[in-house]
């Protein structure tokens, strides 16, 4: 049955080569924890991706209840956490996932750095990876304003102060982020929501796509 469906699609769209690109390649011995236990360090990249998937999914589900509005944002978060079944868990997954993904990214970066895996020919992929790291940090930064609690508000005020301190473009950068030259409020929340939910994830997906394509093209760096 499944085979027939596959054949039907394959005849028309020729998916076997795509499938080959994704799945059919060899994995060298030195990254295989079954051969050397120390190869577990190669798991951090995959786990980062896994947590990213968790973040995307839990974020999608959270927006079913969340509203980005200073009157109601906190109330909706409080509601989904206290009244909705498993709300505590879904928000927990998004909250803790944000921390875990930073930890995993950090470990992945350290692995690549100390193995010197960023050297020729993988310079570009390293740079894309660092950009992914920045996007993740920005996602964390924009994300914690969204519940509109005390922590969200005051941490964002500080962040905006730092942005303002940048020479020459500081004022503009702050207003651009804030939506208003001085008030941290309705417009700030709407902007941070848009950045957190649309702009940064879009950038993240593009960067991750490039990252993965380059890994498949170049293969895993050899053993030390």
């Amino acid at each position: 049955m499944l085979q027939k469906m596959y054949d039907w699609i394959d005849e028309r769209v020729d998916i076997t080569p795509l499938w080959r690109d994704i799945a059919d390649h060899e994995v060298p011995e030195h990254v295989n924890p079954a051969h050397h236990f120390s190869a577990f360090v190669y798991c951090f990249g995959g786990l980062t991706f896994f947590v990213t998937v968790i973040q995307v999914l839990s974020g999608m589900f959270l927006t079913m209840y969340y509203v980005p509005d200073i009157e109601n944002a906190w109330r909706s978060v409080y509601y989904l956490q206290t009244e909705v079944a498993h709300g505590q868990i879904v928000r927990g997954m998004h909250h803790w996932g944000a921390s875990v993904v930073i930890v995993m990214l950090f470990l992945h970066t350290l692995r690549v750095f100390f193995q010197g895996a960023y050297k020729k020919p993988r310079e570009l992929n390293w740079m894309v990876g660092v950009l992914i790291f920045f996007v993740m940090l920005a996602l964390g930064l924009t994300g914690y304003l969204l519940p509109w609690d005390n922590k969200a508000y005051f941490a964002t005020v500080v962040t905006l102060q730092i942005a303002e301190g940048v020479p020459f473009i500081g004022e503009m950068a702050k207003t651009l982020l804030n939506g208003d030259p001085s008030i941290v409020g309705a417009q700030t929340l709407a902007r941070f929501f848009a950045i957190h939910v649309f702009f940064l994830p879009a950038a993240l997906f593009v960067l991750m796509g490039i990252h993965f394509i380059m890994i498949r093209k170049q293969g895993i760096s050899g053993p030390l």
């Binding site: 968790i54 999914l57 997954m93």
Partner: protein, 169 residues
């Protein structure tokens, strides 16, 4: 040759295990989220309280529109919402509280809303009509009679609950 055959079955076994492990990961990730999303479907709808609507003495044999305001809690948003009902006394001196919501597409019906039908409820959206007891007039868009409110009379005051659909006539 036999070695090759064994390889294929080993590959199949690995494929099944892989599907199983992948399924476990997906399920444990999605289970809380799906339960979270479908929560409104599973939540028992709270039967609303009876609300005081009108003095029984005000109710005549002619349908009158009565309005009352309830505090509606919509998750994190609480607001006052006005409901209304068409209420009259029938020939047996029983109170008939009819929902004003047309059974066709949910517009508001009016008693004698059309000059041509002074003894009927009329829906302006698609010319739906109902007799005085709420029965839909055949060959007009609605296919069911108007809902009847649950009601009770206490100390001369009419209390209304939820509108209850009636069987098709």
């Amino acid at each position: 040759m036999s070695e090759k055959k064994q390889q294929v079955s080993r590959r199949q076994f690995l494929n099944y295990t892989l599907t199983g492990v992948g399924g476990f990961m997906a399920a444990s990730m999605l289970a809380p989220m799906v339960r979270f999303a479908i929560d409104p479907v599973l939540k028992a709808s709270a039967g609303g309280d009876m609300q005081a609507v009108a003095d029984v003495s005000e109710i005549t044999t002619e349908p009158q529109r009565f309005e009352w305001t309830v505090e509606q809690v919509d998750a994190w948003y609480t607001s006052d919402v006005t409901h209304s009902a068409w209420v009259y006394k029938n020939e047996n001196d029983e109170i008939v509280p009819l929902s004003p919501v047309c059974k066709h597409l949910g517009c508001q019906v009016n008693w004698a809303g059309n000059e041509d039908y002074p003894d009927q409820f009329y829906c302006p959206c698609h010319d739906g009509r109902y007799l005085k007891d709420g029965t839909n007039v055949p060959n007009t868009p609605p296919d069911a009679p108007l809902d009847l409110f649950e009601y009770e009379v206490k100390d001369g005051t009419l209390y209304l609950g939820q509108p209850v659909p009636r069987e098709e006539v």
